[in-house]
Protein backbone atom coordinates (compact mmCIF):
# COMPACT_ATOMS: atom_id res chain seq x y z
CA UNK A 1 0.00 0.00 0.00
CA UNK A 2 1.12 3.52 -0.75
CA UNK A 3 2.63 5.37 2.14
CA UNK A 4 0.24 8.19 1.32
CA UNK A 5 -2.66 5.88 0.79
CA UNK A 6 -4.35 7.01 3.97
CA UNK A 7 -4.98 10.53 2.75
CA UNK A 8 -3.89 11.17 -0.77
CA UNK A 9 -5.71 8.40 -2.56
CA UNK A 10 -9.05 6.81 -1.94
CA UNK A 11 -11.53 9.63 -2.39
CA UNK A 12 -9.34 11.02 -5.12
CA UNK A 13 -9.85 8.09 -7.42
CA UNK A 14 -13.11 9.40 -8.82
CA UNK A 15 -11.67 12.86 -9.21
CA UNK A 16 -8.67 11.51 -11.07
CA UNK A 17 -10.91 9.70 -13.50
CA UNK A 18 -13.16 12.66 -14.14
CA UNK A 19 -10.37 15.22 -14.24
CA UNK A 20 -8.49 13.00 -16.64
CA UNK A 21 -11.53 12.85 -18.88
CA UNK A 22 -11.77 16.61 -18.75
CA UNK A 23 -8.18 17.11 -19.74
CA UNK A 24 -8.80 15.09 -22.89
CA UNK A 25 -11.97 17.03 -23.59
CA UNK A 26 -10.05 20.24 -23.02
CA UNK A 27 -7.39 19.11 -25.45
CA UNK A 28 -10.02 18.47 -28.06
CA UNK A 29 -11.40 21.98 -27.51
CA UNK A 30 -8.01 23.59 -28.01
CA UNK A 31 -7.33 24.38 -24.37
CA UNK A 32 -3.75 24.18 -23.13
CA UNK A 33 -2.61 20.66 -22.31
CA UNK A 34 -2.90 19.76 -18.66
CA UNK A 35 0.10 17.63 -17.71
CA UNK A 36 -1.07 17.39 -14.10
CA UNK A 37 -4.85 17.00 -13.98
CA UNK A 38 -4.29 15.78 -10.45
CA UNK A 39 -1.53 16.24 -7.88
CA UNK A 40 -0.76 12.55 -7.88
CA UNK A 41 0.18 12.46 -11.55
CA UNK A 42 3.90 12.30 -12.11
CA UNK A 43 5.79 11.21 -15.19
CA UNK A 44 8.48 8.54 -15.53
CA UNK A 45 10.85 8.36 -18.49
CA UNK A 46 10.97 5.11 -20.44
CA UNK A 47 14.73 5.33 -20.87
CA UNK A 48 17.74 7.39 -19.89
CA UNK A 49 18.84 7.69 -23.53
CA UNK A 50 17.20 10.11 -25.96
CA UNK A 51 15.23 8.55 -28.82
CA UNK A 52 16.57 9.53 -32.28
CA UNK A 53 14.20 11.28 -34.70
CA UNK A 54 12.74 9.40 -37.67
CA UNK A 55 15.21 11.17 -39.92
CA UNK A 56 17.94 13.76 -39.68
CA UNK A 57 20.65 14.41 -37.13
CA UNK A 58 20.02 12.84 -33.77
CA UNK A 59 21.43 12.47 -30.27
CA UNK A 60 24.45 10.45 -29.21
CA UNK A 61 23.50 6.81 -28.75
CA UNK A 62 24.91 3.78 -26.94
CA UNK A 63 27.85 2.04 -28.59
CA UNK A 64 26.22 -1.06 -30.13
CA UNK A 65 29.27 -3.09 -29.11
CA UNK A 66 28.44 -2.44 -25.45
CA UNK A 67 24.69 -2.84 -24.87
CA UNK A 68 23.29 -0.65 -22.12
CA UNK A 69 21.39 -2.17 -19.21
CA UNK A 70 20.14 0.55 -16.87
CA UNK A 71 19.59 0.13 -13.16
CA UNK A 72 15.93 0.53 -13.96
CA UNK A 73 16.00 -2.34 -16.45
CA UNK A 74 17.85 -4.40 -13.87
CA UNK A 75 14.96 -3.88 -11.49
CA UNK A 76 12.60 -5.26 -14.11
CA UNK A 77 14.67 -8.04 -15.64
CA UNK A 78 17.44 -8.78 -13.17
CA UNK A 79 20.06 -8.33 -15.92
CA UNK A 80 23.47 -7.04 -14.85
CA UNK A 81 23.46 -3.24 -15.23
CA UNK A 82 26.08 -1.68 -17.49
CA UNK A 83 27.30 1.87 -17.91
CA UNK A 84 26.36 4.22 -20.72
CA UNK A 85 29.08 4.16 -23.36
CA UNK A 86 28.82 6.52 -26.32
CA UNK A 87 28.92 5.68 -30.00
CA UNK A 88 31.67 8.08 -31.05
CA UNK A 89 30.68 7.96 -34.72
CA UNK A 90 27.77 10.38 -34.31
CA UNK A 91 28.45 13.20 -36.80
CA UNK A 92 26.90 15.89 -34.58
CA UNK A 93 29.99 16.00 -32.35
CA UNK A 94 32.67 18.59 -32.99
CA UNK A 95 36.18 17.17 -32.55
CA UNK A 96 36.68 18.65 -29.06
CA UNK A 97 33.28 17.40 -27.94
CA UNK A 98 34.06 13.96 -29.35
CA UNK A 99 37.30 13.98 -27.34
CA UNK A 100 35.41 14.76 -24.16
CA UNK A 101 33.03 11.88 -24.76
CA UNK A 102 35.91 9.58 -25.77
CA UNK A 103 37.71 10.31 -22.48
CA UNK A 104 34.61 9.40 -20.51
CA UNK A 105 34.24 6.22 -22.57
CA UNK A 106 37.83 5.35 -21.65
CA UNK A 107 37.10 5.91 -17.96
CA UNK A 108 34.08 3.61 -18.16
CA UNK A 109 36.02 0.93 -20.05
CA UNK A 110 38.80 1.05 -17.47
CA UNK A 111 36.25 0.38 -14.75
CA UNK A 112 36.64 3.79 -13.15
CA UNK A 113 33.65 5.87 -12.06
CA UNK A 114 32.38 8.32 -14.64
CA UNK A 115 29.46 9.81 -12.82
CA UNK A 116 27.78 13.02 -13.92
CA UNK A 117 27.88 16.07 -11.64
CA UNK A 118 24.21 15.39 -11.04
CA UNK A 119 25.17 12.29 -9.08
CA UNK A 120 26.76 14.62 -6.54
CA UNK A 121 23.66 16.79 -6.19
CA UNK A 122 24.59 19.40 -8.82
CA UNK A 123 21.78 20.54 -11.13
CA UNK A 124 21.26 18.39 -14.20
CA UNK A 125 20.49 21.24 -16.63
CA UNK A 126 18.62 21.21 -19.93
CA UNK A 127 17.94 18.97 -21.83
CA UNK A 128 19.45 16.40 -19.43
CA UNK A 129 16.53 17.06 -17.06
CA UNK A 130 14.34 14.97 -19.35
CA UNK A 131 16.50 11.86 -18.92
CA UNK A 132 16.37 11.74 -15.13
CA UNK A 133 12.86 10.81 -13.98
CA UNK A 134 13.31 7.06 -13.97
CA UNK A 135 13.15 5.99 -10.35
CA UNK A 136 11.26 9.05 -9.15
CA UNK A 137 8.70 11.03 -11.08
CA UNK A 138 8.79 14.39 -12.82
CA UNK A 139 5.96 16.71 -11.85
CA UNK A 140 4.38 19.70 -13.57
CA UNK A 141 2.91 22.69 -11.77
CA UNK A 142 1.10 24.73 -14.43
CA UNK A 143 0.36 28.19 -13.14
CA UNK A 144 -1.15 31.07 -15.10
CA UNK A 145 2.18 32.82 -15.63
CA UNK A 146 4.65 30.00 -15.22
CA UNK A 147 5.11 26.27 -15.53
CA UNK A 148 7.31 24.68 -12.88
CA UNK A 149 8.88 21.31 -13.62
CA UNK A 150 10.13 19.33 -10.65
CA UNK A 151 12.29 16.23 -10.44
CA UNK A 152 11.20 14.54 -7.26
CA UNK A 153 14.41 12.59 -6.82
CA UNK A 154 16.46 15.65 -5.85
CA UNK A 155 13.76 18.31 -5.78
CA UNK A 156 15.28 19.91 -8.86
CA UNK A 157 13.20 22.80 -10.12
CA UNK A 158 12.91 24.34 -13.58
CA UNK A 159 11.00 27.58 -14.07
CA UNK A 160 9.32 28.16 -17.45
CA UNK A 161 7.92 31.66 -17.70
CA UNK A 162 4.93 31.99 -20.02
CA UNK A 163 5.98 34.93 -22.13
CA UNK A 164 7.18 35.52 -25.66
CA UNK A 165 10.47 37.29 -25.01
CA UNK A 166 13.68 36.37 -23.27
CA UNK A 167 15.23 38.90 -20.90
CA UNK A 168 17.45 41.47 -22.62
CA UNK A 169 20.58 40.31 -20.81
CA UNK A 170 20.28 36.66 -19.84
CA UNK A 171 22.82 35.61 -17.23
CA UNK A 172 24.04 32.07 -17.67
CA UNK A 173 22.91 29.62 -15.03
CA UNK A 174 22.48 25.88 -14.51
CA UNK A 175 18.95 25.86 -15.93
CA UNK A 176 19.30 28.95 -18.07
CA UNK A 177 16.26 31.02 -18.88
CA UNK A 178 13.22 29.16 -20.13
CA UNK A 179 10.24 30.89 -21.68
CA UNK A 180 7.18 29.02 -22.84
CA UNK A 181 3.93 29.27 -24.69
CA UNK A 182 1.03 26.98 -25.46
CA UNK A 183 0.50 26.13 -29.12
CA UNK A 184 -2.73 24.16 -29.26
CA UNK A 185 -2.08 20.90 -27.46
CA UNK A 186 1.61 21.60 -27.04
CA UNK A 187 3.74 23.45 -24.49
CA UNK A 188 6.71 24.94 -26.33
CA UNK A 189 9.72 25.79 -24.15
CA UNK A 190 12.66 27.84 -25.38
CA UNK A 191 15.79 27.79 -23.22
CA UNK A 192 18.99 29.82 -23.53
CA UNK A 193 21.57 31.07 -21.04
CA UNK A 194 22.69 27.59 -20.03
CA UNK A 195 26.14 27.49 -18.53
CA UNK A 196 28.51 24.77 -19.66
CA UNK A 197 28.85 22.66 -16.53
CA UNK A 198 26.12 20.14 -17.28
CA UNK A 199 26.02 17.14 -19.58
CA UNK A 200 23.58 17.06 -22.46
CA UNK A 201 22.99 13.36 -21.81
CA UNK A 202 24.26 10.41 -19.82
CA UNK A 203 27.20 9.91 -22.18
CA UNK A 204 28.88 13.05 -20.94
CA UNK A 205 28.20 14.93 -24.17
CA UNK A 206 29.37 18.46 -23.42
CA UNK A 207 27.95 21.76 -24.57
CA UNK A 208 28.91 25.41 -24.57
CA UNK A 209 27.10 28.50 -23.38
CA UNK A 210 25.68 28.82 -26.89
CA UNK A 211 23.35 25.88 -26.22
CA UNK A 212 19.80 26.63 -27.31
CA UNK A 213 17.11 24.04 -26.59
CA UNK A 214 13.52 24.03 -27.78
CA UNK A 215 11.25 21.45 -26.18
CA UNK A 216 7.74 20.68 -27.34
CA UNK A 217 5.66 18.79 -24.74
CA UNK A 218 2.34 17.15 -25.58
CA UNK A 219 0.16 14.28 -24.44
CA UNK A 220 -0.26 11.33 -26.77
CA UNK A 221 -1.93 7.92 -26.54
CA UNK A 222 -5.12 9.27 -24.94
CA UNK A 223 -3.14 11.28 -22.43
CA UNK A 224 -1.29 8.29 -21.03
CA UNK A 225 2.06 9.20 -22.54
CA UNK A 226 3.87 12.53 -22.42
CA UNK A 227 6.14 13.16 -25.38
CA UNK A 228 8.89 15.76 -25.58
CA UNK A 229 10.31 16.64 -28.96
CA UNK A 230 13.65 18.30 -28.38
CA UNK A 231 15.56 20.52 -30.79
CA UNK A 232 19.17 21.28 -29.87
CA UNK A 233 21.51 23.87 -31.36
CA UNK A 234 25.00 24.67 -30.14
CA UNK A 235 27.47 25.77 -32.79
CA UNK A 236 30.18 25.62 -30.15
CA UNK A 237 29.85 21.88 -29.54
CA UNK A 238 27.85 20.43 -32.44
CA UNK A 239 28.44 20.43 -36.19
CA UNK A 240 24.72 20.79 -36.86
CA UNK A 241 21.39 21.21 -35.09
CA UNK A 242 19.91 17.91 -33.99
CA UNK A 243 16.63 16.56 -32.69
CA UNK A 244 15.66 14.03 -30.07
CA UNK A 245 12.55 12.54 -28.53
CA UNK A 246 11.81 11.57 -24.96
CA UNK A 247 8.67 9.85 -23.71
CA UNK A 248 7.21 9.49 -20.24
CA UNK A 249 4.53 7.30 -18.71
CA UNK A 250 2.43 7.81 -15.63
CA UNK A 251 3.15 5.92 -12.44
CA UNK A 252 0.67 3.11 -12.89
CA UNK A 253 2.08 2.34 -16.32
CA UNK A 254 5.56 2.22 -14.83
CA UNK A 255 4.48 -0.26 -12.18
CA UNK A 256 2.86 -2.50 -14.75
CA UNK A 257 6.27 -2.97 -16.35
CA UNK A 258 7.57 -4.71 -13.27
CA UNK A 259 6.89 -8.39 -12.60
CA UNK A 260 5.39 -8.89 -9.18
CA UNK A 261 8.40 -10.86 -7.95
CA UNK A 262 10.59 -7.83 -8.55
CA UNK A 263 8.36 -5.25 -6.92
CA UNK A 264 10.62 -5.15 -3.90
CA UNK A 265 13.40 -3.93 -6.14
CA UNK A 266 11.33 -1.21 -7.72
CA UNK A 267 12.76 2.06 -6.56
CA UNK A 268 9.79 4.07 -7.77
CA UNK A 269 7.88 6.01 -5.19
CA UNK A 270 4.32 4.99 -4.48
CA UNK A 271 1.68 6.93 -6.27
CA UNK A 272 0.75 10.19 -4.70
CA UNK A 273 2.01 13.74 -4.56
CA UNK A 274 5.68 14.41 -4.57
CA UNK A 275 7.64 13.15 -1.61
CA UNK A 276 10.46 15.18 -0.07
CA UNK A 277 13.82 13.76 -1.15
CA UNK A 278 16.86 15.85 -0.33
CA UNK A 279 20.05 15.01 -2.16
CA UNK A 280 22.33 16.82 0.28
CA UNK A 281 20.84 15.07 3.28
CA UNK A 282 23.93 12.93 3.14
CA UNK A 283 26.62 15.59 3.37
CA UNK A 284 29.27 13.03 2.54
CA UNK A 285 29.83 11.90 -1.00
CA UNK A 286 27.52 9.18 -2.19
CA UNK A 287 30.61 7.78 -3.83
CA UNK A 288 33.21 7.78 -1.09
CA UNK A 289 36.68 6.68 -2.18
CA UNK A 290 35.93 7.66 -5.77
CA UNK A 291 36.63 10.69 -7.86
CA UNK A 292 33.07 12.02 -7.62
CA UNK A 293 32.71 15.73 -7.05
CA UNK A 294 31.88 16.98 -3.58
CA UNK A 295 28.27 18.03 -3.19
CA UNK A 296 27.41 21.74 -3.36
CA UNK A 297 28.13 23.47 -0.08
CA UNK A 298 28.69 26.96 1.24
CA UNK A 299 32.02 27.81 2.86
CA UNK A 300 30.32 30.75 4.52
CA UNK A 301 26.56 31.00 5.02
CA UNK A 302 24.69 32.95 2.34
CA UNK A 303 23.11 35.23 4.97
Amino acid sequence: MSRHAGYFTGVLAGTVYLAGSLSLTAMAQGMPPNFAPDASIGWYAYNRIFIPPASGAGPVQQDPAHPYVSNDEFRVTGRQPTAQLADLDNPILKPWARDVVRKRNALVLSGKPANPPHASCWPVGVPGFLLRPMTQAMYFVQGPKEVVMILASKVEVRHIFLTDKHSPNVKTSWYGESIGRYEGDTLVVDTIGLDDRTWVDGFGTPHTKQLHVIERFRLIEDGNVLEANVHVEDPGAFTMPWDAIQRFRQYEAAVRQVPIERLAQLASAPEGPMAEMICAENPNSFFSNTSAQPIPQAVVPDF
Binding site: L22, M31, A39, W122, V157, S173, P296
Partner: protein, 241 residues
Protein backbone atom coordinates in the same frame (compact mmCIF):
# COMPACT_ATOMS: atom_id res chain seq x y z
CA UNK B 1 -4.06 35.21 -9.63
CA UNK B 2 -6.17 32.08 -9.88
CA UNK B 3 -4.96 29.44 -12.24
CA UNK B 4 -6.94 28.95 -15.47
CA UNK B 5 -5.97 25.29 -15.56
CA UNK B 6 -7.11 24.82 -11.99
CA UNK B 7 -10.33 26.60 -12.88
CA UNK B 8 -10.72 24.61 -16.06
CA UNK B 9 -10.74 21.42 -14.09
CA UNK B 10 -12.92 22.84 -11.35
CA UNK B 11 -16.19 22.21 -13.16
CA UNK B 12 -15.62 18.52 -13.54
CA UNK B 13 -13.80 18.38 -10.26
CA UNK B 14 -16.83 19.89 -8.57
CA UNK B 15 -18.91 17.09 -10.02
CA UNK B 16 -16.51 14.62 -8.50
CA UNK B 17 -16.41 16.58 -5.30
CA UNK B 18 -20.18 16.71 -5.06
CA UNK B 19 -20.39 13.02 -5.72
CA UNK B 20 -17.88 12.38 -3.00
CA UNK B 21 -19.52 14.81 -0.58
CA UNK B 22 -16.40 16.92 -0.11
CA UNK B 23 -17.04 20.61 0.51
CA UNK B 24 -15.27 23.87 -0.48
CA UNK B 25 -16.13 25.12 -3.96
CA UNK B 26 -12.99 25.85 -5.97
CA UNK B 27 -14.06 29.41 -6.74
CA UNK B 28 -13.81 30.32 -3.06
CA UNK B 29 -10.02 30.47 -3.26
CA UNK B 30 -8.54 33.50 -1.55
CA UNK B 31 -6.38 35.96 -3.46
CA UNK B 32 -2.99 34.78 -2.25
CA UNK B 33 -1.34 33.48 -5.42
CA UNK B 34 1.67 34.82 -7.27
CA UNK B 35 5.29 35.67 -6.50
CA UNK B 36 6.14 37.18 -3.12
CA UNK B 37 9.20 38.57 -1.39
CA UNK B 38 9.71 39.56 2.23
CA UNK B 39 10.93 43.07 2.92
CA UNK B 40 12.59 42.27 6.23
CA UNK B 41 14.49 39.38 7.74
CA UNK B 42 14.98 38.50 11.37
CA UNK B 43 17.55 35.90 12.30
CA UNK B 44 15.73 35.52 15.63
CA UNK B 45 12.06 34.72 15.25
CA UNK B 46 9.78 37.51 16.47
CA UNK B 47 6.84 36.35 18.56
CA UNK B 48 3.46 37.97 18.06
CA UNK B 49 2.90 40.07 21.19
CA UNK B 50 6.63 40.28 21.87
CA UNK B 51 8.73 38.62 24.53
CA UNK B 52 10.92 35.56 24.59
CA UNK B 53 10.17 32.10 23.33
CA UNK B 54 8.06 30.32 25.97
CA UNK B 55 10.51 27.45 26.35
CA UNK B 56 10.05 24.56 28.75
CA UNK B 57 13.05 23.50 30.80
CA UNK B 58 13.74 20.81 28.22
CA UNK B 59 13.35 23.36 25.44
CA UNK B 60 15.77 25.74 27.15
CA UNK B 61 18.34 23.00 27.43
CA UNK B 62 17.94 22.10 23.73
CA UNK B 63 18.23 25.76 22.72
CA UNK B 64 21.36 26.14 24.83
CA UNK B 65 22.89 23.08 23.23
CA UNK B 66 22.11 24.42 19.75
CA UNK B 67 23.49 27.90 20.45
CA UNK B 68 26.71 26.50 21.88
CA UNK B 69 27.06 23.93 19.10
CA UNK B 70 26.51 26.46 16.32
CA UNK B 71 29.10 28.70 17.96
CA UNK B 72 31.83 26.09 18.43
CA UNK B 73 31.05 24.28 15.17
CA UNK B 74 29.97 21.01 16.74
CA UNK B 75 26.50 21.57 15.26
CA UNK B 76 26.16 22.41 11.55
CA UNK B 77 23.48 24.74 10.26
CA UNK B 78 22.80 22.36 7.37
CA UNK B 79 20.25 24.70 5.77
CA UNK B 80 23.00 27.25 5.15
CA UNK B 81 25.96 24.87 4.77
CA UNK B 82 24.46 22.17 2.55
CA UNK B 83 21.24 23.96 1.56
CA UNK B 84 18.88 21.31 2.84
CA UNK B 85 15.35 22.67 3.42
CA UNK B 86 14.99 25.22 6.19
CA UNK B 87 11.94 23.57 7.71
CA UNK B 88 9.03 25.38 9.30
CA UNK B 89 8.74 28.09 10.42
CA UNK B 90 12.27 29.09 9.37
CA UNK B 91 11.52 28.88 5.64
CA UNK B 92 8.83 31.52 6.16
CA UNK B 93 11.60 33.99 7.05
CA UNK B 94 13.44 33.48 3.75
CA UNK B 95 14.85 36.74 2.35
CA UNK B 96 14.50 35.32 -1.17
CA UNK B 97 11.35 35.41 -3.30
CA UNK B 98 8.95 32.50 -3.50
CA UNK B 99 5.79 31.53 -5.35
CA UNK B 100 2.37 30.29 -4.30
CA UNK B 101 0.77 28.48 -7.23
CA UNK B 102 -2.80 27.25 -7.40
CA UNK B 103 -1.89 23.99 -9.14
CA UNK B 104 -2.07 21.15 -9.80
CA UNK B 105 -5.75 20.52 -9.11
CA UNK B 106 -6.17 19.48 -5.48
CA UNK B 107 -2.86 20.99 -4.42
CA UNK B 108 -1.37 24.40 -3.75
CA UNK B 109 2.34 24.47 -4.39
CA UNK B 110 4.86 26.72 -2.65
CA UNK B 111 8.12 27.05 -4.58
CA UNK B 112 10.97 28.82 -2.81
CA UNK B 113 14.05 30.21 -4.54
CA UNK B 114 16.06 29.56 -1.36
CA UNK B 115 17.41 26.01 -1.55
CA UNK B 116 14.87 25.29 -4.34
CA UNK B 117 12.43 24.09 -1.72
CA UNK B 118 8.98 22.88 -2.74
CA UNK B 119 6.05 22.52 -0.36
CA UNK B 120 3.06 20.66 -1.80
CA UNK B 121 -0.09 21.47 0.17
CA UNK B 122 -2.74 18.78 -0.30
CA UNK B 123 -6.07 20.58 -0.28
CA UNK B 124 -9.13 19.42 1.61
CA UNK B 125 -7.52 16.29 2.97
CA UNK B 126 -7.27 15.37 6.63
CA UNK B 127 -3.87 15.67 8.25
CA UNK B 128 -2.57 12.14 8.82
CA UNK B 129 -2.06 11.12 12.43
CA UNK B 130 1.35 11.51 14.05
CA UNK B 131 1.55 7.72 14.09
CA UNK B 132 1.11 7.62 10.31
CA UNK B 133 3.68 10.35 9.78
CA UNK B 134 6.43 9.12 12.12
CA UNK B 135 7.99 6.82 9.49
CA UNK B 136 8.29 9.69 6.99
CA UNK B 137 9.79 12.70 8.72
CA UNK B 138 10.29 15.58 6.29
CA UNK B 139 12.30 18.78 6.70
CA UNK B 140 9.25 20.84 5.75
CA UNK B 141 6.74 18.36 7.14
CA UNK B 142 3.57 17.08 5.51
CA UNK B 143 1.00 19.77 4.82
CA UNK B 144 -2.72 19.86 4.19
CA UNK B 145 -4.72 22.98 3.47
CA UNK B 146 -8.21 24.38 3.27
CA UNK B 147 -9.81 27.71 2.47
CA UNK B 148 -11.61 29.58 5.23
CA UNK B 149 -13.12 32.64 3.58
CA UNK B 150 -10.28 34.89 2.49
CA UNK B 151 -7.66 32.74 4.19
CA UNK B 152 -5.62 29.70 3.23
CA UNK B 153 -5.18 27.57 6.34
CA UNK B 154 -2.32 25.06 6.32
CA UNK B 155 -1.72 22.40 8.93
CA UNK B 156 1.68 20.73 8.96
CA UNK B 157 3.16 17.86 10.97
CA UNK B 158 5.57 15.00 10.43
CA UNK B 159 8.78 16.99 10.77
CA UNK B 160 12.27 15.66 11.23
CA UNK B 161 14.44 17.13 13.98
CA UNK B 162 17.18 18.36 11.65
CA UNK B 163 15.94 21.92 11.35
CA UNK B 164 15.73 24.93 13.63
CA UNK B 165 12.84 27.28 14.32
CA UNK B 166 15.10 30.17 13.28
CA UNK B 167 18.69 31.02 12.43
CA UNK B 168 19.66 31.29 16.11
CA UNK B 169 19.00 27.57 16.63
CA UNK B 170 15.66 27.71 18.44
CA UNK B 171 14.64 24.07 18.73
CA UNK B 172 11.61 21.96 17.94
CA UNK B 173 10.76 18.30 18.31
CA UNK B 174 9.47 15.90 15.70
CA UNK B 175 6.06 16.24 17.33
CA UNK B 176 5.74 19.91 16.37
CA UNK B 177 2.54 20.90 14.63
CA UNK B 178 2.19 24.20 12.80
CA UNK B 179 -0.93 26.03 11.67
CA UNK B 180 -0.52 28.79 9.09
CA UNK B 181 -3.16 31.34 8.17
CA UNK B 182 -2.30 33.10 4.92
CA UNK B 183 -4.39 36.01 3.64
CA UNK B 184 -4.17 39.20 1.65
CA UNK B 185 -3.81 42.27 3.85
CA UNK B 186 -3.44 44.94 1.15
CA UNK B 187 -3.42 45.13 -2.65
CA UNK B 188 0.33 44.48 -2.56
CA UNK B 189 0.84 42.33 0.53
CA UNK B 190 -0.07 39.02 2.11
CA UNK B 191 0.63 37.76 5.61
CA UNK B 192 1.36 34.32 7.00
CA UNK B 193 0.63 33.97 10.70
CA UNK B 194 2.02 30.70 11.96
CA UNK B 195 1.12 29.05 15.24
CA UNK B 196 3.67 26.69 16.76
CA UNK B 197 2.42 23.80 18.88
CA UNK B 198 5.23 21.78 20.42
CA UNK B 199 4.43 21.15 24.10
CA UNK B 200 7.61 19.26 24.83
CA UNK B 201 9.72 22.36 24.16
CA UNK B 202 7.21 25.20 24.57
CA UNK B 203 4.97 25.94 27.53
CA UNK B 204 2.20 27.30 25.30
CA UNK B 205 1.32 27.70 21.64
CA UNK B 206 2.86 30.84 20.21
CA UNK B 207 2.70 32.75 16.94
CA UNK B 208 4.96 34.54 14.49
CA UNK B 209 3.84 36.77 11.61
CA UNK B 210 5.50 37.17 8.24
CA UNK B 211 4.52 39.80 5.67
CA UNK B 212 5.36 39.50 1.99
CA UNK B 213 5.16 41.93 -0.90
CA UNK B 214 3.58 40.73 -4.12
CA UNK B 215 6.37 40.74 -6.70
CA UNK B 216 5.04 39.25 -9.91
CA UNK B 217 7.75 41.21 -11.72
CA UNK B 218 10.38 38.85 -10.26
CA UNK B 219 11.39 35.57 -11.90
CA UNK B 220 12.72 32.95 -9.54
CA UNK B 221 16.31 31.94 -10.22
CA UNK B 222 18.46 28.87 -9.71
CA UNK B 223 19.85 28.51 -6.20
CA UNK B 224 22.91 26.32 -5.81
CA UNK B 225 24.73 26.10 -2.51
CA UNK B 226 27.94 28.11 -2.27
CA UNK B 227 27.41 30.00 -5.54
CA UNK B 228 26.59 33.70 -5.93
CA UNK B 229 22.90 34.47 -5.68
CA UNK B 230 20.65 37.41 -6.34
CA UNK B 231 21.01 40.69 -4.47
CA UNK B 232 18.94 40.57 -1.28
CA UNK B 233 20.31 43.77 0.22
CA UNK B 234 16.87 45.37 -0.14
CA UNK B 235 15.57 43.03 2.55
CA UNK B 236 16.01 44.83 5.87
CA UNK B 237 17.90 42.87 8.47
CA UNK B 238 19.87 40.68 6.05
CA UNK B 239 23.54 40.54 6.86
CA UNK B 240 25.81 38.70 4.46
CA UNK B 241 29.06 37.51 6.01
Amino acid sequence: MRNPLARSSSAVASLAVAALAVSAPADAAPDIFGTFWATRYDAKIQIVGGGDLPLTAEGKAAYGTNIAGLKDGSITDAARKFCVPDGLPRVLASPYPFEIIDAPHGQITFVYELNHQVRPIAMDKPLPSDKELIPYPYFNGHSVGRFEGDTLVIETAGFNEKTFIDATGAPHTDEMHTLERIRRISPTEIEDVVTIHDPQYYTRDWQARFVYQQRDDVWLQDYVCGEPHRDISSVAGVRRP
